[in-house]
């Protein structure tokens, strides 16, 4: 199943995973991940024709409850660990170009 993993593949995956990696890390991961992917190729030996995938250890279907308001975190508690807030919202870097932040 696996072709050889290239440095370009690893760079692309790092972008998808939102991980900024150094050149050195890209090199190391290219070789280490190739090794792991080569190892997992052993799964190709197994005949899985007509076998249902097993996503969960105990197969539970949807668990429902009454749609009632339950206690939840206060705004203050929810914000207490955020790197940057204005006291009532999370603050993020500007996303839209040419937008003027309200003050």
């Amino acid at each position: 199943m696996s072709q050889k993993l290239t440095r370009g593949d690893v760079t692309k995956v790092a972008l998808l995973a939102r991980l900024k990696l150094s050149d050195e890390e890209l090199d190391t991961f290219t070789s280490q991940l190739s090794q792991v992917l080569q190892y997992v190729d052993v799964l190709n030996e197994v005949d899985t024709e007509n076998i249902e995938p097993m996503a969960h250890a105990i197969e539970v279907s949807n668990v429902f409850r009454e749609d009632e308001v339950q206690p939840s975190l206060s705004r203050e508690a929810a914000l207490q660990n955020a790197p940057l807030t204005d006291g009532s919202h999370y603050l993020v870097p500007q996303i839209l170009e040419n937008a003027t932040p309200e003050s």
Partner: protein
Amino acid sequence: MSIVGKTTGELLDSMNQGELSSVEIVQAFLDEIGRRDNEVNAFLSVRPEKALEEAKEVDQKISAGEQLGLLAGIPIALKDVLCTEGETTTCGSKMLENFVPPYDAHVVQRLKKSGVISLGKVNMDEFAMGSSTENSAFKTTGNPWNVEHAPGGSSGGSAAAVGANMAPLSIGTDTGGSIRQPASFCGVVGMKPTYGRVSRYGLVAFASSLDQVGPMANDVSGAATLLEAIAGHDHRDSTSINCPVPSYSDSVDKPLEGLKIGVADEHFGEGLGDEVRKSVENSLDVYRSQGAKIVNISLPHSKYAVAAYYLIAPSEASSNLARYDGVHYGYRTENFDNMIDMYAASRGEAFGDEVKRRIMLGTYALSSGYYDAYYLKALKVRRLIRQDFDQAFEKVDVIASPVTASPAFKIGELSDDPLAMYLSDIYTISANLAGLPGISVPVGLSGNDLPIGLQLLGPAFEEDRLFRAARMFEKETDWKTLKVS
């Protein structure tokens, strides 16, 4: 015997008979932490004042004749992966270095109800990813039997704390062997319960279909009592199962009549060290002498477990760890160009190598064009692994195997070879994929005085059977004298 050498049951008895107070017990363990932990480095945080304060409350309740919880006054060490309200929970990661949870995990709530007293939080591989506790962002924990060796992982701090008599009990978590392998390395008892037996609410997620919280202890009965305290249904974890929790502490001393122990060739093949092989075989003789029958079984797909696991677990991890975005909680970089760059730089700076590796592996396995070949294929093999167990448990009551191929490796020995580290979980990983309970119980010592464990696996929700079977060995022997060479 010194206070810190006592089992949970002995400590509870001493309190019941008025020989020891909880304050004396907690103080003794705090002193032991002071004496041993600069060498072992198991604890990330210790809470001496709060622990003594809570112990005093327990003592007051005892003198007032109040009804107490199952483990009232007994100290415990908590793996730093469980949210503790108002107390830092780092997960061994720079990402959560300053994270103070606004709520308690279900397990922590249950522990408080049982009256157990937290001594502090203990070290672990970052986000529970690893088998040596070397992946912690904060410190390297040593094996209490020989600090040049690893305590195992990822619950290495939990195992080392109990192994060094710094706590009689601890909580670990097990996604691929992270309770059982360190328990084996440090000479303590550790159980991974059936998936769904213990609520994962407030447990920082690694791989949600595999993660399970479990007890570690200096004897089987302590582990049984601790599981009894934390097990049970919780509506906040939709995968927690609503089925009654038996009184493990009541039944643990009852031997199992006519016990049939399955042994699979697949667990005794190439790669198994001689000392572990001998030790496990000796332990089977102990069971034979108590009337147990050893039955050959086959687990033909077990050799594919590591490969399936290292696709499934990283896939789930890559999704779970997407929550660390530098916005809601955790680390945010100081230097970035835009929003996307802020995400990537924060994650790149705050995650360690192993976490990055697994996020990368999982992202790749789930990415367009590879999903069927990797992730879906692994899930199909997972079902075959489970079916092997279902068939085996039609013939036997428990399955006995090594926990690891060799005793504790040296610190640094495998840290540059991820694949070799992954393969150190070869005997434990199947139970997580299949969702089954497993216990590691110490059964001997290697030539250079490192502990060796025996793993017993059981059918779903038969933790009671595993405790009783493990206790049969423990009662009959003194494992520390069973040296193989």
